[in-house]
Symmetry: C2
């Protein structure tokens, strides 16, 4: 399963990595659509069929980007957050880090996004519960929370929900970013600057009496309807849906 720079580098794994590296380079140089599978194979010095031996299709190559970017983001966000204890600030840093890490790929980000929007695709972070990128990003947001001073007094259920909520928030930012055509995605950055304090305020206010019923409603709804969809079991969902059977065509190449 390792897609980038793991341990033993057997013959096959070397070829697999070579193809991925080449594809990533060409994607960045020419864009996704302009990069043909033939070009990737030629540039990597292998045959077209060989690329398909390791990757189920062209789309599956972008998983490489996805994974790499997520790792970069994790490192970057942790580094920049170090020492900061204000929740809004930490959140903003986490989101800005994402934009910075994703910047090189903005031009063909649409391709990522189209893939993410396809419920049939194994690459979609929505339909694939254990999507590595999702798991990693949620972990970052956990740290965003834990490193700031607001933990103890929050509603415990909300507190547990928060990392996933912030991930959803990131998804909104990503949507915004994909459609952002301004220079250096300035608009998205401004959006983040405005959002972060607002979200922080929302979280902060959730402690107060007046907001309690509202927060409870929201939390319940998300637990019942959102988390199950992205692969987390909710404590006691109402309609108790029958377990959805996993659908696979082949012995899972990647």
């Amino acid at each position: 399963m390792p897609t980038d720079t793991p341990a033993p580098q057997s013959k096959g794994e070397q070829t697999r990595a070579l193809i991925l590296e080449t594809a990533m380079r060409l994607f960045q140089e020419r864009g996704y659509d302009k990069t043909t599978m033939r070009a990737i194979a030629a540039e990597a010095g292998v045959s077209v069929g060989n690329a398909y031996y390791y990757y189920e299709g062209k789309e599956f190559l972008i998983q490489g980007f996805y994974d790499r970017m997520t790792r970069e983001h994790a490192v970057e966000a942790r580094t920049r957050m170090a020492g900061r204890t204000d929740f809004a600030e930490r959140l903003q840093i986490a989101l800005e880090s994402w934009v910075d890490c994703a910047a090189p790929y903005h031009e063909f980000a649409a391709q990522f996004f189209r893939t993410a929007a396809d419920p049939d695709s194994a690459l979609s972070p929505f339909s694939n519960e254990s999507h590595p990128a999702r798991t990693c990003a949620v972990a970052i947001f956990r740290e965003v929370i834990d490193g700031s001073q607001l933990g103890p007094k929050l509603d415990p259920e909300l507190e547990e929900l928060l990392p996933d909520l912030l991930w959803l928030h990131l998804m909104v930012v990503v949507l915004y970013w994909v459609f952002d055509r301004t220079e250096d995605t300035e608009r998205t950055r401004a959006f983040i600057t405005r959002c972060a304090p607002f979200v922080a305020k929302l979280v902060s206010l959730s402690r107060y009496r007046v907001f309690r019923p509202l927060v409870r409603d929201a939390v319940d709804m998300i637990q019942d309807f959102v988390l199950p969809t992205i692969g987390k079991a909710a404590p006691a969902p109402k309609p108790a849906p029958t377990a959805t059977p996993a659908k696979r065509k082949r012995p899972a190449k990647d």
Copy 2:
């Protein structure tokens, strides 16, 4: 530019309509991917090239579905809402109507969605300001509001924003629906049933003192960052972005 059943039906318009009808039928029978352009052309009794004379590409044919569904939804929602005056109820009806109208197309809805997620596509309701489907849906939500008893006392800016906000809410429901794999999309229906009263409560509470600063923040943010993106000018946006030039390759076939 009429895509369905407009007035004069000149020779060319007849062919255009024939191709669209055939495509829609085949899409429904076999699904989007399984329906080839050759099959559409053959079934319609024209040549492949002819289809491309009227439609820029395969994707552009789904615009037909989009438009038709939107019209159906408008009629359906208005009919069902008639007489109801409770905001939550009207909202729920509007959303449920959408799910009902969209039901026949659920299987290949992913295709719609992937297209909508592509910022370069002229079909995306996000990037195309005057998207007919968007305009139509927003109008429906305007009626949802106007037909219920809560108008006068709301913050006027929020009131003006609300139709677009509800449209965004619909987009969330659509996202949920696309990924919903339950029988008859029961889960989405339950989701709507839970969401509608909650949204109504939010709107209703927005009147109260305590929520005022929060509402103001949210309204400002949406006016500055969300509306401009979907093509509505905000009163006084902060960064005042330079007008984004429209990008077109050809003299706009469809």
